[in-house]
């Protein structure tokens, strides 16, 4: 009978929860205790202050030679689309290579490729 199974399950789980989670009469796990897979990786990274999966908005840079736009990449080149002025409809696309900072062919702001580590 499903009701009996539910009750038995509840009793079993209650005993388990007291022993494992050590919190009497509560016993709902936290993300720290139970998150797994990519969710866990993202959680631990955000606790360390990193953003390996680019969930957050990219940081803003001046775009000058001294403060170029930092472009993270998992390989040694990445496509950049520069909207030189706000509301421009023509996006300037170019490959950004590893090494010295490159300039947008249209507005001249600086972009620098930096290696980006992915957790595995």
């Amino acid at each position: 009978m499903p009701a009996a199974a539910l009750v038995r399950g509840l009793v079993d789980q209650w005993l388990y929860c007291v022993s494992v989670f050590g919190r009497f009469a509560s016993g709902i796990p936290t993300d720290d205790e139970q998150a797994t897979g990519l969710e866990k990786i993202v959680l631990e990274a955000s606790k360390r202050g990193t953003d390996p999966y680019s969930i957050l908005k990219p940081q803003e840079y001046a775009g000058s030679k001294q403060d170029p736009h930092i472009v993270p990449s998992i390989t040694n080149k990445r496509i950049v689309g520069c909207v030189c002025e706000e509301d421009n409809t023509a996006v300037v696309w170019f490959w950004l290579h590893q090494g010295e900072a490159q300039r947008c062919p249209s507005c001249g702001t600086y972009y620098k490729l930096v290696p980006h580590e992915l957790p595995h």
Binding site: S26, P29, Y53, I55, I74
Partner: protein, 261 residues
């Protein structure tokens, strides 16, 4: 690089969209077969396939989210948008039936006697079972909020108790409404009054059953430790749906049961 550089979920190939589409085809054509050739075989087959599809598809989502950790914050955000959009589409679904009700009741035709309720219709007393039903659903809105706070605060026993209470209240509503349907002095065939009453309240009742089922699945998952105090979107989706069902009832009660009497 074997792994993705983003936090989204690229799902594995799945047969359930296809079986769902086949179920839809079998149910619709089965309905036509039933109407014209008196056989319910095709439609029943479609219904079984639909239930199997829903069970397996949602089971797979639970596996992907809870057991495999694919539901990162961006993925969860997408699921939230999805549920909100779905509920919005359901709001428009009910809006149609309210439109029909007000169209017919605001300007009752001579065939109805030029009045609403139409001549010969004895409407249900809004201060009897319908009022109890209102109290039941409002109370269930309170208990589901209690369940949510219990989950967020890590109170397992209270979460289970309040969620169970919510489901029982939903079942109580359904039982009360079923007896009302049985005892009603008018039927769906009684002109536009019967049509608007039973189609609007009937679809609402169906949504109560769907919502109660959703909550029951959440209860099973809660008992089995699926939810964490921070991440329990399945429960939140069920609670949103339940509040929506409650709000639709309030509009039904005020419009059809109260003003419409």
């Amino acid at each position: 690089m074997a792994h993705q550089a983003h936090a989204y979920h690229m799902v594995d190939p799945s047969p359930w969209p296809l079986t769902g589409a086949i179920a839809a085809l079998l149910m619709t054509s089965g309905l036509a077969i039933w109407f014209h050739f008196h056989s319910t075989v095709l439609m029943t087959l479609g219904l079984i396939l639909l239930l199997l599809t829903m069970y397996q598809w949602w089971r797979d989502i639970i596996r992907e989210g809870t057991f495999q950790g694919h539901h990162t914050p961006p993925v969860q955000k997408g699921l939230r948008y999805g549920m909100i959009l779905f509920i919005t589409s359901e709001v428009f679904f009910f809006l149609g039936f309210f439109w029909a009700f007000y169209h017919s009741s605001l300007a009752p035709t001579p065939e109805l006697g030029g009045c609403w309720p139409p001549t010969g219709i004895t409407p249900l007393d809004p201060f009897e079972v319908p009022l109890l039903n209102t109290a039941v659903l409002l109370a269930s809105g309170v208990t589901v909020t209690w369940a949510h706070h219990s989950i967020m605060e890590g109170e397992r026993k209270q979460a289970i108790q309040s969620l169970t209470l919510t489901i029982l209240l939903g079942l109580y509503f359904t039982a009360l409404q079923a007896t009302e349907y049985y005892e009603a002095p008018f039927t769906i065939a009684d002109g536009v009054y019967g049509s608007t009453f039973f189609v609007a309240t009937g679809f609402h009742g169906l949504h109560v059953i769907i919502g109660s089922t959703f909550l029951a699945v959440c209860l099973l998952r809660q008992v089995q430790y699926h939810f964490t105090s921070e991440h329990h979107f399945g429960f939140e989706a069920a609670a949103w749906y339940w509040h929506f069902v409650d709000v639709v009832w309030l509009f039904l009660y005020v419009s059809i049961y109260w003003w419409g009497s």
